[in-house]
């Protein structure tokens, strides 16, 4: 019956209880949703790093990373493969040749890292092939007499392979996107012009559009004008096995788009045999062996096991190669703690205030309950239960709202395209797909209930100190 009374007492002053519950709901939602959004950003970055750029574990010749000399190959490739294959959790292995060089077109040149890959095996380990921009070709699927190269969008822009042209199709697409006819007519003035860089194109449309039009349509105009001439070629120059300058023309077979500008502008991929042929490297030689694991959680264990087996090589996992990523993952835990402390402190103050008011308003009733024989333990439990109910209702409402909003935004995504330049420069996606694991909800629930209990102790103790004789006479 005490539980029933406590529950009914919560709804005694509906307005006040609903205000507290709403405050708790909003607080919990704000905390969980912010965490989910931040978490998604980090998770997406981690996934991208592991699935597109690094995989889980890399084995190099000990001197390779410091000098990047073409001669610093894996000494005994079969031994490395055998060590990796015998390690529990390793699912796939592939070897790479990596050399530094220069990529050039008729107008531009830039330093790059040329990676020779086994196309078939890479597709089993990395998802880069899925990052192909539609309409730019394929992931090494077309036969060509030229050497093939798969490059990033950022590099393509730097080499002026991507141009910006306002075509009649682009105008139609902008109209369909909902652009006003006034803005469309301004953009039409650029029709027919060919801009060899994004910078020049942006400058051109910024001169003819108002700031609010730029803010609203800038991204769409760039997307619509984006143009790529299939079959573009680039020249790759590098040193061969004898340290002699060599190079060849490569046909761009496809362009990939990731969220990491640095990776896009530095990395390009060619079939390993073509690179071996050009550099004079022997069959079966590699600079790096890459291993894919079942999941991220076994990274540390697998790394130490492989390190023991391959003491003559440099064995690194993704956390060690990009410590900033590992730090971000750890940092998430700290951000979570800070968020939760803020939310729970606000929750605690709200509950203390409400319960103190409730005790004050019900002094006479509490006095009567003591007089007729309700002992202090039961009164204490009743006040505690009221507080717990308030926090549970608010907490669960907050979690339900969070779950619903996260479920919707996880599908639709949150578009931060305005900040895409900055985010992608750091390797983070401008499209967030909020995600949070079930454990977070469980922990949050426990913390909310605990806060409700702790926050009720002071008002409950106040109630216990009442003198029934005086309390009954309270007006």
């Amino acid at each position: 019956m005490i539980t029933a009374i406590a529950w009914k007492n919560v709804w005694r002053n509906k307005t006040r209880s609903l205000i507290v519950i709403s405050a708790v709901t909003i607080g919990v939602f704000a905390g969980i949703f912010s965490m989910a959004a931040i978490n998604s950003s980090v998770v997406q970055r981690l996934d991208a790093a592991v699935n597109e750029e690094l995989s889980h574990i890399q084995v190099n010749n000990k001197d390779f990373r410091s000098s990047a000399d073409i001669q610093n190959i894996i000494g005994n490739y079969p031994e490395v493969v055998s060590a990796l294959e015998s390690t529990p959790g390793v699912t796939n292995i592939t070897g790479r040749i990596i050399i530094r060089g220069i990529a050039s077109t008729a107008t531009k040149s830039t330093g790059v890292e040329i990676t020779g890959i086994d196309v078939g095996k890479e597709k089993e380990i990395f998802t880069l092939s899925e990052k192909l921009i539609p309409g730019t070709g394929s992931y090494f699927e077309t036969d060509t007499k030229f050497n093939s190269v798969f490059i990033g969008e950022k590099l393509a822009k730097e080499l002026n392979i991507i141009r910006y042209i306002i075509t009649p199709e682009a105008i139609t697409s902008l109209r369909e996107e909902g652009m006003t006819s006034e803005t469309v007519s301004k953009v039409e003035t650029l029709q027919g012009q060919r801009f060899t860089s994004e910078k020049k194109f942006v400058k051109a449309y910024e001169e003819i559009l108002e700031p609010n039009e730029i803010q609203k349509y800038g991204w769409k105009i760039k997307e619509a004008a984006w143009s790529y001439r299939e079959g573009s070629k680039i020249i790759l120059s590098f040193l061969d096995i004898n340290n002699s300058q060599t190079g060849a023309a490569f046909k761009v077979c496809g362009i990939f788009r990731t969220n990491n500008d640095m990776f896009e502008s530095l990395s390009l991929f060619v079939p390993i045999d073509e690179l071996r042929q050009l550099t004079g490297m022997k069959d079966g030689t590699f600079h790096r062996v890459i291993a894919r694991l079942e999941n991220n959680d076994i990274t540390d264990k697998a790394t130490s096991e492989i390190r023991q087996k391959l003491a003559d090589y440099e064995v690194l996992n993704w956390k060690e190669i990009q410590p900033d990523l590992a730090m971000m993952a750890d940092f998430m835990g700290q951000i979570y703690s800070v968020f939760m402390v803020i939310i729970l402190a606000a929750l605690a103050f709200g509950i203390v205030n409400t319960m103190l008011m409730a005790v004050l308003e019900r002094t006479r009733e509490l006095g009567m309950l003591m007089a007729i024989g309700m002992n202090r333990r039961k009164i204490f439990i009743m006040i505690m239960l009221e507080s717990i109910f308030l926090s549970i209702v608010g907490g669960f409402a907050g979690m339900a709202v969070s779950e619903a909003v996260i479920a919707v935004t996880a599908k639709t995504g949150i578009n931060l395209v305005k900040y895409s330049e900055g985010l992608e420069a750091m390797g983070y996606s401008a499209n967030l797909y909020p995600t949070i694991d079930a454990q977070f909800f469980v922990t949050t629930t426990i913390l909310i209930v605990l806060t409700g209990i702790i926050a009720a102790i002071y008002p409950a103790r106040k109630a216990l100190k009442l003198n029934p004789i005086e309390a009954i006479r309270t007006e």
Binding site: M1, I5, N9, R12, I372, G373, N375, P468, I469, I472
Partner: protein, 228 residues
């Protein structure tokens, strides 16, 4: 049979600069099924005596024996338990639990005593019928008149079959008709349930119906009359 024995009871308040001798050497007995009123002017010690009898306060000296148990030596927690099992209270301002229905208010003490649900229901229905509110069992206090609320309070006080009921100015907030109805019900229950009723009152209607009237002045018993 003696239900309450009060021996040379004193209560002195020292909290103010002047010592107040609220109850001064009171010695009284109450028998089973008495219907007694304690009267006297304001400040005569009626309420203090009732609080001491109800175990809500400790005497400065003297003894209150209820069925041989000395209240003055019971610890606070034991006293609460003793109150729950042996004493019924009716307050001037009814003091029902507003979120509970009339039925639930009556059941409440029995649930504290862990009486089985079936027995609780039987006793509650019996009392609701006795106070003439069987048709208002599911009404909350806010939906009942003052007189009806006080009848529920009487039923609540009797629910656990206490040894005696203490009623502090039970008719003070009631109109004449409601007060008379309430007193008639209380007298009937006193007779039927053989439970002692002790009133602290100024109300002449209560005095008129009481079987025994004890008059206090300055904390002392100045008269103790059997009326019926």
């Amino acid at each position: 049979m003696k239900v309450i024995e009060i021996k040379d009871l004193n209560k002195i308040y020292n909290s103010t600069e002047v010592k107040v001798h609220a109850v001064n050497g009171v010695t009284l007995d109450f028998q089973e099924a008495e219907f007694a009123a304690i009267v006297g002017p304001s400040g005569s010690g009626k309420t203090t005596l009732l609080n001491l009898l109800g175990g809500l306060d400790y005497p400065t000296s003297g003894q209150i024996l209820i069925d041989g148990v000395d209240l003055s030596i019971l610890k606070s927690s034991a006293l609460i338990d003793f109150r729950m099992r042996n004493i019924g209270f009716v307050f001037q301002a009814y003091n029902l639990i507003p979120v509970l229905t009339a039925k639930e208010n009556i059941e409440f003490i029995m649930s504290l005593q862990k009486i089985a649900s079936k027995k609780r229901d039987e006793r509650t229905f019996e009392l609701l019928k006795a106070v003439g509110l069987a048709d208002r069992a599911e009404s909350r206090p806010a939906k009942l008149s003052g007189g009806q609320q006080q009848r529920v309070a009487v039923a609540r006080a009797l629910a656990s079959k206490p040894k005696f009921v203490l009623a502090d100015e039970p008719t003070a907030n009631l109109d004449s008709k409601s007060a008379t109805t309430l007193l008639e019900i209380m007298e009937k229950l006193n007779h039927e349930e053989k439970i002692t009723f002790i009133f602290s009152t100024h109300d002449p209607r209560v005095v008129k119906m009481a079987h025994r009237v004890i008059t206090l002045e300055d904390g002392r018993v100045v008269s103790d009359e059997q009326m019926k």
